[in-house]
């Protein structure tokens, strides 16, 4: 075993939250080391035009994703079933390399609704404890929206988020989301212009009586210089966003917002091809002494550190905590234990909307988040759930993120999947179709969790993470309800034909169908060590010099895309580390 010189802070995983932690801690003068299992990646030479406009390499074969050949997860539907490996990409995607999933995301940058952060308290108060099914175990974050607001803003100004404010200091503003929590400042950039599909959707939604607004987007609408002095360029709606790097320096990522400054700091070091296998603890088990990793040559390396930031992808965070023996693993039988608890996902439905040949949608004109219109009337607790019998909700979106033909070409219902009929439908509908979809929450349940698989191992011989997950009735009801509202809008759009993908009772979770990469939970934050793994500052209740960032902290999954909330929670955590923890290391919240 090689033993490296000690550092003050070691960061495990170098995507969004690792980069935020790095830059916010770098000006304390501490010696900071980031360990990333993948390679270095930057806009040039890795995402340059025209090579990035390659649907097969990036969109289909997954050039930017973590190679599953070396490490994956296993999946089963229920406790007691045998889990099998997630052998090919389908349902969700893991990032890889510097920037992580923050490279190939779409830039959909939402804040949580105020009630999302105090969801258990809010639902109990409004509808009564009995409104929630017995095995639903939703919780509060231990942070209120008002407390988090400055950090949500900080992340938006880092990214140059483009959008229209709907609630500025309590005043509801036209054109924005009237359901959002109050913001102190407007978005740093105006909204991106609408694609034609989004325009048609928004007109129809207004006619039905809903409140469409442009999706808050980290595809910059204009040139922007962020508070670190890093410049982003305007998005040109190239259509190669999700699953792709951005050649325009438009989509916010660690590379376009933080790394040009952070990489020059003399007290910051990045080591790539460094795969962390364990957080090391002292003999008391109450203090971390650093981490062990495997370097590019395959050598085991011990890296001593005073503070360990676990900032890998949600599932990798959970796995590392389990492999390191920090906190008690969750037991679905007793409901006790916290590591692996409250795994959740998201549930989408989608409607293909087909027009006649006189409607030129031009689906290839698209951005990952810009150019899309949103209806948020049926998300979170923006409406009275009382008569409907479910908790949570979804936003409805209209428009398209691109028209890449292998993955995004849609054909009307009844079209055969091959042959002359398929070809004719592909030819006739490609230019004249758009999408309306719902993007919804998934609650947490006693029997939905993560642990270590007893059978399957990664390339280094360590057990894979095992997912035990299937849908519950609450989510079928949610999806059905919001999808019906989406269909009301689609009817107003007056299309020639529509197709529908909706998950109904009896449909099992299908690992083959991509929905979102927004997997959450497993190292959740909360108000007490009995219920959560982390306190409100994302600090381990058990080992005070371990902080865990990212969507692993979510006690249940909200209807929005998670990155905005992840960024806000990370800024709140690092401020507490800087201003309180470093002066007096110890628990930031007394259990």
């Amino acid at each position: 075993m090689i033993r490296m010189k000690p550092v003050d802070v070691v960061i495990v995983g170098f995507g969004w939250t690792g980069a935020i932690m790095g830059i916010e801690l770098a000006d304390t003068g501490l010696k900071i080391l980031a360990l990333e299992r993948g390679a270095y990646r930057d806009t040039s030479p890795d995402f340059t035009y025209p090579h990035n406009a390659d649907e097969l390499a990036y969109g289909i074969r997954g050039e930017l994703f973590q190679p599953l050949a070396r490490e994956t997860v296993t999946v089963r539907h229920n406790v007691g079933d045998t889990a099998v490996p997630y052998r090919q990409y389908g349902s969700f995607l893991f990032g890889n390399n510097v920037g992580g999933a923050g490279i190939h995301w779409n830039g959909q940058h939402y804040r949580p609704s105020p009630e999302d952060l105090e969801f258990h308290s809010h639902i109990s108060k409004r509808y009564g404890q009995k409104f929630m099914p017995e095995d639903m175990q939703i919780q509060d974050y231990g942070v209120s929206y008002d407390e988090l607001e400055p950090y949500l803003e900080q992340f938006e100004y880092l990214c140059g988020t483009s959008g229209t404010a709907g609630n500025l200091n309590g005043e509801i503003r036209p054109g924005g989301n009237p359901f959002e929590g109050a913001r102190r400042k407007p978005y740093p950039n105006p909204a991106v212009g609408d694609t034609y599909g989004a325009k048609l959707f928004a007109e129809a939604a207004r006619k039905v009586g809903y409140h469409p607004f442009p999706q808050p987007s980290d595809n910059a609408s204009q040139p922007y210089t962020n508070p670190h002095g890093v410049r982003l360029g305007p998005c040109n709606l190239c259509g190669y966003c999700e699953r792709f790097g951005c050649f325009m320096y438009s989509k916010a990522s660690p590379q376009t917002t933080i790394l040009p400054v952070l990489m020059r700091k003399p007290n910051f070091e990045l080591r790539t091809h460094s795969h962390v296998t364990k957080i090391n603890l002292d003999s008391t088990g109450k203090r971390a002494t650093g981490v062990t990793y495997i370097d590019a040559q395959g050598q085991q390396v011990e890296q001593p550190a005073e503070l360990v930031i676990v900032s890998a992808f949600q599932m990798h965070n959970v796995r590392l905590m389990l492999l390191s023996g920090i906190g008690t693993p969750y037991d679905p039988g007793t409901g006790k234990g916290v590591i692996g608890k409250n795994y959740a996902y998201q549930m989408m439905s989608s409607i293909g909307v087909f027009f006649d040949k006189d409607v030129a949608i031009n689906p290839f004109v698209g951005a990952g988040s810009g150019g899309v219109q949103i209806v948020d009337d049926f998300n979170s607790d923006h409406f009275d759930h009382g008569p409907h019998g479910f908790v949570g909700g979804a936003y409805i979106y209209g428009g398209q993120t691109g028209g890449r033909p292998i993955q995004q070409l849609i054909v009307p219902p009844g079209t055969p999947s091959w042959g002359a009929g398929w070809k004719k439908a592909a030819k006739d509908s490609y230019l004249h179709a758009t999408t309306v979809a719902t993007h919804g929450s998934v609650m947490s349940y006693r029997d939905r969790y993560l642990d270590l698989d007893p059978t399957y191992k990664d390339a280094f011989g360590q057990p894979l993470l095992r997912i035990t997950f299937d849908w519950h009735d609450n989510e079928y009801k949610m999806s059905q309800f919001v999808t019906e509202r989406a269909q009301d809008i689609v009817r107003q759009m007056n299309p020639k034909a529509t197709s529908l993908t909706l998950r109904k009772p009896g449909d099992h979770y299908d690992i083959r169908q991509y929905q979102t990469t927004h997997t959450t939970g497993g190292v959740i934050q909360g108000t007490s060590p009995d219920l959560s793994a982390l306190n409100r500052f994302q600090q381990s209740w058990d080992v005070h010099n371990v902080f865990v960032t990212g969507a692993s902290a979510f006690p249940q999954n909200l209807g929005y895309n998670p990155t905005g909330l992840i960024g806000g929670l990370t800024y709140m955590s690092v401020k507490a580390i800087r201003e309180t923890y470093l002066k007096q290391p110890g628990p930031l919240v007394q259990a």
Partner: protein, 241 residues
């Protein structure tokens, strides 16, 4: 023969590919079998266009042309899969990391009887899957129809593809619905991927649907909603059409 360079004109190509399929398949089962004792390891020499496959053998090559020709047939709507070079795409993919299963987690134990919703659980890499699948289907065709798949007329090939799709044909080594899904998925990939991968020749599939390929710049277009986009496709290597 189909090894002769074909005319760039779509009409000519169309006519040629229609006759090419049975011609290749005849050669695949008689001439090659005689000269090479039916060795499955020998690469096929014949192709649509000038492409000589590196991975697929002559009988496999004949099968693929006969199959993709039905999955995306050539007609007045636009190019067929053979004409677009899909077999070449498939052959090249077999030599890529993808074909070798290098992108998939391939450690056992394998539990192929898992619910389909838990995804691919076979031990075959794409290369192995095609090899096993084609041999098994050709065997089945010989037993049922005394001919290989490629030697059968188009309507019979269609009927067999439908049966494969529905999993109605049971073969010892290969779950046929899974094999069909693999073939159809890869066929559509080759049809619509950038031409540098060997398919979508002359960007004909992109032209058919109206996709502008790697243009990747629509900054001006967001200001003109609903207007027909006037420019033809470009490829990553800079070809225009």
């Amino acid at each position: 023969m189909s090894s002769k360079p074909s005319s760039p004109s779509r009409r000519d190509f169309l006519r040629q590919s229609l006759v090419a399929v049975p011609a290749v398949s005849l050669l695949g089962t008689s001439a090659i079998a005689q000269t090479q004792s039916g060795s499955a390891a020998a690469p096929a020499a014949m192709s649509a266009g000038n492409y000589a496959p590196r991975y697929f053998t002559a009988p496999e090559w004949a099968f693929l042309q006969a199959a993709v020709d039905r999955l995306i047939p050539s007609n007045d709507d636009g190019p067929g899969a053979v004409e677009a070079g899909v077999p070449e795409f498939l052959d090249r993919q077999m030599e890529a990391a993808y074909g070798h299963g290098g992108l998939w987690y391939m450690q056992g134990p394998f539990v192929p009887e898992s619910p389909p919703t838990l995804g691919y659980q076979l031990r075959y890499t794409p290369r192995e899957f095609y090899r096993k699948g084609i041999a098994a289907i050709d065997d089945w065709c010989r037993k049922q129809h005394q001919k290989t798949f490629a030697e059968l007329p188009a309507d019979q090939r269609d009927a067999i593809l439908h049966q494969l799709e529905k999993g109605e044909i049971h073969l010892d080594d290969v779950p046929t619905a899974a094999f069909f899904t693999q073939l159809l998925t890869n066929t559509k990939e080759g049809y619509f991927a950038d031409p540098m991968y060997g398919g979508n020749k002359q960007m004909a599939a992109w032209k058919m649907i109206g996709f502008p390929g790697a243009r990747a710049d629509f900054a001006d277009w967001i200001e003109q909603p609903g207007k027909v986009y006037p420019y033809g496709p470009v490829s990553i290597e800079g070809a225009k059409s």
